[in-house]
């Protein structure tokens, strides 16, 4: 009774591309071709790897944000967490190599604490996550700048910055490796019962609770994953660019945009985690394309805004058409399927 006939890999691939989570990969390829067409140098492996290396922080941030979005919430505190971690790296680690491990431990601890607070505010105190994390964003920015007088003392020691700047055997940048590791981990997490439960929580928290889900634990974990991702992004950014109070600013919006571009639905329950990373990389490619195309710097936000709206609107259309149901037919039912109300049935039923 259940149509269990396996579709071929190719069919599944094609129908996957027709969903927004798949379409983002098409967008990515198109943008990549565009960039290479305008600047053939970009196609060199070294260039590509360096590009991937610099998109690693935002891609990792998008992966973190994905967990929160898919559970039906927002994390606006991400940029502030990055800024906090950057300042901690500058002030705590400083020029003392011996402090690197302790510094990283402190950063991870801060990440966990921020995530736990965000999560508990959302789940236990029932503050909408948009507001809870907005408050966290203001509080963190304010508190860190208050403590440091607005500026860090300086960059941390070079060996720490190697994480975001160096490369394995001088060929593969560490950020790329870390991005791959985080991506793999995220993919595993989403396949695991936890990830699936997270999806269910985002789709319908009432159902999830009645299925025995610990909402507080699951959602809080999503927030912790998000701020840990921000922490990793912060560590990479310190290496990549150095300490500055404006590092991380606006990352929350970029990450959310990337996640949505990757086909996840605000409000939860839908999306694929690696598409979030692909969304982030697409966004960076778009900026690069605008840069190379020599579009007046002041016009860039306009192009960016138009493309985001267009992509998400097309994505919404894609969802609607991709999941249009075929009428379910009991085995043994005979007679002509499909009437005037569902005209596409017979012609399309073979595709899926």
């Amino acid at each position: 009774m259940i149509a269990t006939a396996q579709r071929s890999l190719g069919q599944r691939f094609l129908s996957g591309l027709a969903t927004p989570s798949g379409a983002v990969f098409v967008l990515l390829v198109v943008l990549l071709i565009g960039v290479i067409a305008m600047n053939p140098n970009f196609a060199e492996p070294g260039q590509l790897v360096r590009f991937l290396s610099r998109t690693a922080p935002i891609a990792i941030a998008a992966i973190g944000q994905f967990f929160v979005i898919v559970s039906g919430e927002f994390d606006l505190s991400m940029g502030a967490v990055i800024a906090t971690q950057v300042v901690i790296a500058g002030n705590v680690i400083g020029q003392d190599e011996a402090m690197i491990l302790r510094g990283i431990a402190l950063m991870l601890a801060v990440g966990v604490v921020v995530g736990v607070v965000n999560g508990l505010l959302t789940t236990v105190a029932k503050v909408p996550s948009f507001i809870a994390t907005l408050g966290m964003m203001l509080a963190l920015y304010g508190f860190v700048r208050f403590l440091t007088g607005g500026a860090a003392t300086g960059n941390p020691v070079d060996s720490f910055r190697e994480i975001g700047r160096g490369a394995l055997f001088g060929v593969v940048p560490y950020p790329v490796l870390i991005l791959l590791a985080v991506g793999l981990l995220a993919w595993l997490v989403m396949r695991a019962p936890f990830g699936q439960t997270l999806l269910a929580v985002g789709d319908n928290p009432v159902t999830a609770r009645l299925a025995g889900t610990r909402l507080v634990l699951v959602k809080t974990s999503a927030f912790v994953l998000s701020s840990l991702a921000a922490t990793v992004a912060g560590i990479l950014l310190v290496g990549y660019a150095g300490v500055h109070p404006s590092v991380g600013q606006g990352y929350e919006f970029q990450a959310i945009t990337a996640v949505v571009l990757g086909g996840a639905v605000l409000g939860g329950g839908r999306g694929w985690v690696l598409s979030a990373a692909a969304g982030a990389i697409s966004l960076e490619l778009l900026f690069t394309l605008l840069n190379i195309a020599g579009i007046d710097a002041t016009w860039r936000p306009t192009v960016q805004g138009a493309i985001i709206i267009a992509a998400v609107a097309l994505g919404a259309v894609a969802w609607r058409s991709a999941r249009k149901p075929k009428p379910s037919r009991p085995a043994g039912a005979t007679g002509p399927a499909g009437t005037a109300s569902i005209p596409t049935t017979t012609t399309r039923s073979g595709e899926r």
């Binding site: 610099r54 007088g149 300086g154 660019a241 404006s246």
Partner: protein, 405 residues
């Protein structure tokens, strides 16, 4: 429904407006007194809405770079170019003054450094009994808040002297006018306003001078036709726009290829821009309108394995240090941070009844390679976001106040 509503709102607004034009109000503003277009605005801000380049101001600042400054070069924050003076005898007083300071913000390292210097200067003047107190309102980079702050000071009626560091030029003009109308001395510094009612307007030579210094340096050190990437923080801020307006003019005239970008002062953005530029071709020169983030630009060259460019940054410590470590060909233009001392010293002069320059142009000398070592030595131990020409070495809190923010 919607149309009715809109009309209603408009009608209400207009009715209220006409009614008020008729009835006298207790407001601190009357239309006639706001000096609408009556005061010739300083030329620096005439470019509003269009091209920022102004030949007259360019020429003036070009001259001022080599002008003779009155006063002791050891205390550049008290130097000025000879010109009209404001008589302050009417405000002379033996009583300690209550100062009201409407600050635009302390949202970037340059302003933070300056504000520390100012507070140290304040402590010194409180010690010597010139100033009783300084009430500070920080507008958080918002014109509207700063206008409210100034109006509050006026309404409070508790200030002997106003110090205003305007958030933006044109928008703050009416509020500064209102402060002037109180009859108390008004000191404006850093960014200007479109009125010359202030007792003194304190500022370094200006953005054009910065642009000229940096462009000349690049032209001297690069072949014509070189590729120069310009890294600018954001559009629309006059002191920054003037820097680029002058530099762009000179660089283009010299046959350089320039490509400008807005970075939001974010080093991540800076590094990406340079990396993209390097992937497209060679970059010979880098021009910046502010020095923080310069290190990210330099590292982008290193990471790409490219030759380091000829570069202009700022007297920010991170840039000076990076320049020193790498032995680059570079120049550190200065937007004299020590100007944050001058307003309080002006208060002292006003309290003494001494005349102050109506437009107090402070010296603004870039740090060249041979001065770099001295600048670094003098600022040993300062954080990266510190500015070498902060001019607070003789103040009591030195150096701890600047080191531990």
């Amino acid at each position: 429904m919607m149309r009715k509503r809109r009309m209603g709102l408009t009608v209400a607004a207009l009715a209220a407006a006409t009614m008020l034009a008729a009835c006298s109000t207790d407001g601190s503003v009357s239309p006639s007194a706001t000096g609408d277009a009556s005061a010739p605005p300083p030329a620096e801000t005439q470019a509003s809405g269009g091209e920022w380049f102004d030949q007259a101001v360019f020429d003036e600042q070009f001259e001022q770079r080599s002008a003779t400054f009155e006063g002791d070069p050891e205390t550049p924050w008290l130097q000025y170019i000879d010109g009209p003076m404001t008589d302050t005898a009417e405000w002379a007083s033996d009583e300690p003054m209550r100062v009201c300071f409407a600050n635009a913000s302390i949202s970037n390292p340059w302003r933070q450094t300056g504000f520390i210097t100012m507070q140290q200067q304040l402590a010194a003047l409180q010690e010597s009994g010139v100033i009783e107190s300084m009430e500070v309102r920080d507008a958080g980079d918002d014109d509207n808040t700063q206008i409210a702050d100034i109006d509050f000071f006026i309404a409070q009626g508790d200030c002997d002297v106003y110090i205003i560091s305007p958030n933006s030029t044109a928008a703050l003009t009416p509020a500064v006018d209102r402060a002037c109308e109180t009859g108390k001395p008004v000191i404006v510094f850093d960014r200007g306003v479109d009125t010359d009612c202030a007792t003194t307007f304190i500022h370094p030579i200006g953005g054009y001078a910065w642009g000229i210094d940096t462009a000349e340096f690049l032209i001297d050190n690069l072949e014509p036709g070189s590729n120069i990437v310009a890294l600018r923080i954001l559009p629309g801020v006059d002191v920054l726009e003037h820097r680029w307006a002058a530099a762009e003019r000179l660089l283009t005239e010299a046959g350089m290829t320039v490509d400008d970008h807005f970075t939001g002062a974010d080093p991540t953005e800076i590094k990406s821009i340079i990396t993209d530029a390097l992937s497209a071709g060679e970059v010979h020169g880098v021009w910046m309108d502010a020095g923080d983030g310069a290190v990210a630009a330099i590292e982008a060259f290193e990471d790409a394995g490219a030759e380091l460019p000829v570069m202009t940054g700022e007297d920010e410590m991170s840039f000076l240090r990076a320049w020193d470590e790498r032995g680059m060909t570079a120049l550190a233009p200065v937007y004299s941070n020590f100007q944050w001392r001058t307003p309080l010293l002006a208060v002292e002069m006003i309290a003494n009844g001494e005349p102050v320059p109506t437009e107090w142009v402070l010296p603004q000398e870039p740090i060249e390679e041979d001065e770099r070592a001295d600048a670094l030595a003098a600022n040993e131990g300062m954080p990266d976001g510190h500015y070498a020409r902060f001019g607070g070495e003789d103040l009591p809190g030195f150096p701890e106040a600047w080191q531990d923010r």
